[in-house]
Subunit: 272 residues, 2 copies
């Protein structure tokens, strides 16, 4: 039975060994968005499974996922295969499937971030976000939106007012959305949780005046440090909308002012 | 026998079916850099193999590779496994091995770029590069450098003088290298060739005053259009040097002024 101090994230990503490198998981309906389950959450379940199979290398450095079919709430099976383990990093291939159909296929490099050198010379600039009380809470979204996207109830999101015009029918056209993010239950996230954070915000195409579902084809996340507890800053941008596809770059900064995760995904543009 | 009009790139990435989804390749010694073979070239060999197994989807949209061990010149085996094919995209897992040891593992999404919508609304800005004749040819590199990096003879590279201070012992510290690129034999590159171009320049850490080999852990390339023939603009940047690792973002622009490829790799910092 779960401890009363377990976080929602830990409960929703819990897995059970099923033998032969297989694990059973249950995709929680709380992560539904539109016709499927949030892709970052599904990646988090796989990321958790890999972490638990690598006791001395619990942290993802680089995780790449191909999304093959839309995940549904309910039972899922995760398989992992260690391609190489030795030295400071391990490389693992993994898949999550439901009823015999692969949902996502993953290639991952894991290590122990606490044993990495402590040097930092980041030239990236921390996103400028107004104070929390000046930002727009995700809870202000219309009831209809929240009904088709219960995933929004997993987070406390506070959007930068400069990037939320799309919610009022006035997208900026800049291809930029940024927000403060905390889990709704107040629990801090670990390194694996960052895999999910990189896909937590609405598609950046909303800010281009293209609302609608933007199915992810491929997503790569680099995790560079274990985040400090507290509010995270999450920034999504797109710079290349072409050929029916767009790339979405995400940065996650922790309360210590560190760039803890960088991701890039390739997604299909919402249909007009 | 190869036609006299075959490009060096086609010859060096040629594969032979060996049955059961396996292909034989030969890694050409002309791509050696230091103790191994250029990672972009190895990815190109795998990318070519995937393209040849997908007759109606010849173009990579997104390719992610994990680098497990250093490749050597000589025979190699490539295996491919179609994870999903249907609709406009196919997803494939592939591996390249030598003497029973996996060198790289790959997850890829392919399509036919000629059948994608033609809309473009890129906000990315084309790199400003001085005219060719004002740039610094790669052929000016010291003989010793060229001896340990014969890969340099594969390209005609013309470096932006503003980003080549490191070659004279005066790195800018900006983490930025950009150059014009053409194949040395003058042949144009196809979409698969862009997988290689994203790893063709010296490590961007040279511009941070950290010379030396920077082993790639993981590399993801998005190809967004088939490049027009002619000089390509290639730009490498890093924004997050931390934990003994750095990310390297590459953009490739074609002569038509289109952002044809974007990549990001996670690499180990050169040892001081």
């Amino acid at each position: 039975m779960a401890s009363s101090t377990a976080s929602e994230w830990d409960l929703h990503t819990a897995i059970t060994p099923a033998g032969d490198g297989l694990f059973d998981a249950t995709l929680d309906p709380g992560w539904v968005v539109g016709g499927g389950v949030n892709g970052g959450y599904v990646l988090g379940v796989v990321g958790r499974t890999i972490a638990e199979t690598l006791p001395t290398k619990p942290h993802p450095l680089s995780v790449s996922a191909s999304y093959l079919s839309a995940s549904r709430p309910g039972p899922a099976q995760v398989s992992t295969r260690v391609l190489r383990e030795g030295g400071t990093v391990a490389t693992v291939a993994a898949e999550l499937g439901q009823e015999g159909t692969t949902r996502i296929s993953v290639l991952a490099t894991y290590a122990d971030l606490r044993e990495m050198p402590t040097d930092v010379s980041t030239t990236a600039v921390e996103p400028a976000l107004p104070p929390l009380e000046e930002c727009v809470p995700g809870s202000m979204a219309p009831a209809e939106t929240r009904r088709i996207a219960p995933v929004m109830d997993r987070f406390d999101l506070r959007f930068d007012p400069a990037c939320i015009g799309w919610a009022m029918g006035k997208p900026s056209g800049n291809g930029h959305i940024q927000a403060w993010l905390k889990m709704a239950d107040g629990h801090p996230l670990d390194a694996v949780g960052l895999l999910m954070v990189c896909d937590a915000l609405p598609p950046v195409t909303f800010d281009l005046g293209r609302p609608g579902w933007a199915p992810t084809l491929a997503l790569t996340v680099h995790v560079r440090a274990v985040p400090e507890p507290g509010w995270l800053k999450v920034s999504h941008r797109t710079r290349n909308v072409a050929g029916g596809l767009f790339e979405e770059d995400c940065e996650v900064w922790d309360p210590a002012g560190r760039l803890v995760a960088q991701s890039r995904q390739l997604a299909m543009q919402p249909r007009p």
